[in-house]
Amino acid sequence: MLDARKDDQPLVSVRDLKMHFPIYAGLLRRRVGEVKAVDGVSFDVMEGETLGLVGESGCGKSTCGRAVLRLYDITSGSITIDDREIGTTPQNQLRTMRPTMQMVFQDPQASLNPRMTVEAIIKEPLDEHTSMSDVEKREKVGELMDAVGLNRKFAKRYPHAFSGGQRQRIGIARALALNPKFIVCDEPIAALDVSIQAQVVNLLEDLQEQFGLTYLFISHDLSMVRHIATRVAVMYLGKIVELAPREALYAEPLHPYTQALLSAVPEPDPSLEGKVERIILQGDVPSPSNPPQGCNFCTRCPAVMDICQTDEPAYREVRPGRFTACHLYNDNNNAAG
């Protein structure tokens, strides 16, 4: 699958993306440090694929997703979407780019204006970015509601009248309004009940096929990412530690963090209990304002070596299509990187 696309240009290309937030303290609010939420992240998203971005809370995956869409002014790095460099573009010029790239947010309660009707919410991007007539807009809203499985009759209702799953459908319809190519889905199912999650995931897959969408799917749910993603990137403390095609990553994780993360996921099968070797990580994630020297994971890594505490491992392709940042996969142990 990947080989077929190899000749194609990636739709989204991120290089060495950094997003540092300053910390101010003291009477004069002097800058005393920074939170390195995203610290040198590089990846490509191919046209039509879903790149899963997984990690635990605070690892920077949401910040990364928002930064890629330039919802922040990034610290440094390059972001190319659809052959346009947007890493340094000023916000007012980004407006014309916005229709190509959209976002579905985690909390459908907080991301929908409670004082706007469903119709007004889905129509707003059309008002802002197109010169459609009112009739055309209304028809488009109707089509979008059909596409996400909402009854057109509910167009005049307000968000509070809908359940969590239906609200997420409204958010998805809004994201689709301008025929985007690339959608960042930031934990779109985390706030939903188990029986509703599958409905929304199936919808996202249908829409992807129907409209040829490309997704960056951010989630902490490793089993759901295994279902939806073509390739998966694992983040830890602001960096991608491993990126690989789905099957390869779940069958044979390379990075010790990925191994621990996968082994920690509880499986709904009591007969596996005792058979699956669990790697219980000790301690907590260090603060991103004061990451450890060397490898970010060295404080918790079960396979830590001396070199890990001094040298940061390079993020590189260790096998075809498989990237990781770990000294265990150095060809020679003299810290090339």
């Binding site: 599958a198 902490h220 996968l262 099968d269 990580l281």
Partner: protein
């Protein structure tokens, strides 16, 4: 888990109703279960299924109004907890029955250090003096695996990480050697690697202390790993109840079967498409006169709309509230 042992906690036909402006919401409908000494009972359900309200009801933790406990008995230590006076109930809560809540940040008091909060039940329930309580508090922190316990007693909740805070909560719940520990989604707010730590700690504590545990969660994966028996709730009712292996190998209620199919796995076969349960969970307005799952059920028939199915005993501690017999593939005899 001796089979013939008397249950430590026996709940019969518990019924809780919330009075709202829109009418009465029947949050808990005739829920019955018995907890044997030393066992871990898992309670699974989606939000609104009544799993938390059941546990809050039996300890009198719901404000009334709007909550109204309409009926049932809760037998613990020879008393019916629904009938005893406030003083006795207070002695039970945090004493013989410990509680761990979902969110460790909001259930700890931010203005007191954790030492004070662990010592509170020790002094109130066990009448320990300050020095003994402090000593015991330190032991408890060591028990739940917090390093450098003596110094950490003086720290405030914000100085602990999420996983460490949940350990503190568990220490408080365990302070008075409870016979029953009720844990309401204790790992839901935590990351998977931290969740794995807490689950491991829980297994260790159970084998050390031997208390019975009720573990509420929506995560079937967590349940599979730690429970002895499982109770599945839907629409304020117990729809299926079985020993853990039996439930996962041989689910009998259509809701349990659908739920198990809808969740993707890490190790198993990857489905090309997820199985979905159509529709929404019900809002239990008015007393139930039909099966709460019938609108989303793929085997529902006319009887399901007329009557609410009772829990049919299927043998070996397995029961399911469904008129459809999955074993024969037809309706159960009336």
């Amino acid at each position: 888990m001796p089979d013939g042992a008397l249950p430590v906690l026996d709940v019969r036909d518990l019924k809780t109703v919330f009075k709202t402006r829109a009418g009465e919401v029947h949050a808990v409908n005739d829920v019955s279960f018995a907890l044997k000494p030393g066992e871990l009972l898992g309670v699974v359900g989606e939000s609104g299924s009544g799993k938390s309200v059941t546990m809050m009801s039996l300890l009198g933790l719901l404000p009334s109004p709007p909550a109204d406990i309409r009926g049932g008995t809760v037998t613990f230590g020879g008393n019916d907890l629904l009938k005893v006076d406030a003083e006795t109930l207070r002695a039970v809560r945090g004493g013989k029955i410990g509680f761990v809540f979902q969110d460790p940040m909001t259930s700890l008091n931010p203005v007191f250090n954790v030492g004070v909060q662990i010592m509170e039940p020790l002094r109130k329930h066990m009448g320990l003096n300050k020095r003994d309580a402090a000593k015991r508090a330190q032991e408890l922190l060591e028990l739940v695996g917090i390093p450098d316990a003596q110094r950490r007693l003086k720290d405030y909740p914000h100085q602990f990480s999420g996983g460490m805070r949940q350990r503190v909560m568990i220490a408080i719940a365990l302070a008075c050697d409870p016979q029953v520990l009720i844990a309401d989604e204790p790992t839901t707010a935590l990351d998977v690697t931290i969740q794995a730590q807490i689950l491991e700690l829980m297994k260790e504590l159970r084998s050390k202390l031997g208390m019975a545990v009720i573990w509420i969660t929506h995560d079937l994966g967590v349940i599979a790993g730690i429970a002895d028996r499982v109770m599945v709730m839907y629409g304020g009712q117990v729809v299926e109840h079985a020993p853990v292996k039996e439930l996962f190998r041989n689910p009998q209620h259509p809701y349990t079967r659908a739920l198990l199919k809808t969740i993707p796995t890490i190790h198993g076969e990857r489905a090309a498409r997820l199985t979905i349960i159509e529709g929404q969970p019900p809002i239990m307005m008015n007393a139930p006169s039909a099966c709460p799952f019938r609108d989303r059920c793929d085997v529902a028939f006319d009887r399901c709309a007329r009557e609410n199915p009772p829990r049919y005993d299927l043998g070996d501690g397995h029961d399911a509230a469904c008129f459809f017999d999955a074993r024969t593939g037809g309706p159960r005899d009336a």
